[in-house]
Amino acid sequence: MIGNTCLMMSRIIWRNRYIILRRTVQIGLLVLFGGANWWGWKFLMGNYSSAYVFETFYLADPHAVLQTFAAGFVMSTDAIVGGIIVLLFYALIAGRSFCSWVCPVNMITDLATYLRKKWKITSKENFFSISRKTRYWVLGLGIVLSPIVGVAAFEIINPITLLHRGIIFGFGMGWAVIIALFLFDLLVVEYGWCGHLCPLGAFYSATSRFALIKVKHDVNKCSMCMKCFGVCHEEQVLHIVGKHSGFIKNECSNCGRCIEVCEDNALKFSIYNTKI
């Protein structure tokens, strides 16, 4: 009896292994950042815009550094080097994993999506729809606007960093923006913010084309159950599923949800352009 329960528990954990890991990383990072502000820890000071790691080096949001550059200010070497480290990490190794493994907005939009599905708020009525390509226009517009308005255009309205800062330094009225974002995802467009509008997601999608860690599909094992389509936040990246083997590219955020639901072992994390 107990053995059975254990087996079931371990099965549930296994079936949700990536989501558990992702939440651990997301919340763990928040605790480290929060600890720096609340209790004076020195592991990770700052927030996701720029972090001071072990009081030795800096990490920075490359998108913010880029906008600032466009606005006409060259940041100090600390921030530029920090931005390059982060950019290279995602571009060469981790892909767009910032979005599903680090960004706390992901937890909000995941909750919205979960409730949307649970309460069957489908987008069939389709009273409002936006293209998934919109985010690239938002990305470009932000860079173009920065020199015109004389400030990093997206950073000044950025709900992602607003949430980071809110959790670590206090919200003020900022929570209203987060509620708006949640309601948008819940009631208006499925995966509305992360999957359609967010320029940071677009930035990492555009730069991580050749990242090493990617999900690999083996068509020979696929039974076309379509479960992966049901959970994927960026369905368009799964276009090869059931058609031919290969790597999942472009906007895939390496969340691993498709791997968890696949009962045929037709999807797994792999190294890009290798046979592993």
């Binding site: 700052g46 920075a60 940041m75 921030a79 517009l141 606007l145 607003l162 330094f169 003020g172």
Partner: protein, 268 residues
């Protein structure tokens, strides 16, 4: 038939293009004007060694490392309702002033260059060093509302004078006979703007209900005479006249005429 279809699809394509361009323009205009509104922060007091406001809102990466480095919780990051660029650091001296730490922990941790140690670099024998000198900070300047100041009423109060970390330099007391009573003295505090750091300890200490002495950013609180006025009674200032080649109403080369903090001001 095929031709009309082509025409239609071309027309559709054009329509889509114009619609897209319209949306882009609309989005850009709305976003741009919001951004311009949101970056307005004229009345904000920044941490020590901040570069001038217009550049500061560009440069600051909004990470809050300076806020965490501040041991007195003076600095805070602006939220949506703080009337300044969201996520940038500022302080309200009436709540918590800047206690002017001699090691200035908030400045060296800044990764972006928004806080620049050069602005408060210690000078030893006229040579700039890497060390900070908090007395050179120019976060703002203390303004005094004489009507609300008890000392100007004739009641003895030197709270701001005593609180000032540059006691006797940034705020001095001016002694005047109180004609009303005939036997008392006014001890009137006077702020010297070239020395004042804008730390706000005076504002914090002020005993009136709403502070009679308060810190404002230098861009807001200072005037400038202009280079065409010369102090005839000041030999050093007279020298300027000799160096001037022709009548100029515009400032010629501002650099050497500016006080060391005037890099903070907008120069038009």
């Amino acid at each position: 038939m095929a031709d009309t279809q082509n025409m239609n699809s071309r027309r559709d394509a054009l329509k889509t293009m114009f619609r897209g361009a319209g949306l882009l323009g609309l989005g850009g205009a709305a976003w741009g004007s919001a951004a311009i509104r949101l970056k307005a922060s004229e009345l904000t007091l920044r941490p020590p060694a901040a570069i001038k406001e217009e550049l500061f809102v560009k440069a600051c990466i909004r990470c809050g490392t300076c806020v965490e480095a501040c041991p007195y919780d003076t600095l805070q990051l602006a939220t949506l309702d703080d009337h300044t660029a969201m996520g940038t650091p500022f302080f309200k001296p009436r709540l918590i002033p800047c206690y002017m730490c001699t090691d200035v922990p908030c400045v060296p941790v800044c990764p972006s260059g928004a806080l620049d140690l050069k602005n408060i670099a210690k000078q030893i024998d006229g040579v700039q060093t890497e060390k900070p000198d908090i007395n050179k900070a120019k976060m703002g300047v203390a303004m005094l509302d004489q009507e609300a100041c008890l000392a100007y009423w004739g009641i003895q109060c030197d709270a701001c004078y005593r609180a000032c970390p540059l006691l006797g330099e940034a705020i001095t007391l001016e002694f005047k006979r109180n004609e009303r009573t005939g036997k008392h003295a006014f001890l009137k505090p006077v702020v010297h703007r070239d020395v004042c750091t804008g730390c706000g300890l005076c504002e914090h200490a002020c005993v009136t209900e709403k502070a009679a002495i308060f810190v404002l950013p230098r861009t807001v609180a200072t005037g400038r005479v202009g280079a065409h006025y010369i102090k005839g009674w000041d030999e050093a200032d007279e020298e300027r006249l000799k160096n001037m080649k022709e009548a100029q109403t515009k400032k010629s080369s501002p650099e050497d005429e500016l006080n060391d903090w005037e890099y903070l001001l907008d120069d038009e």
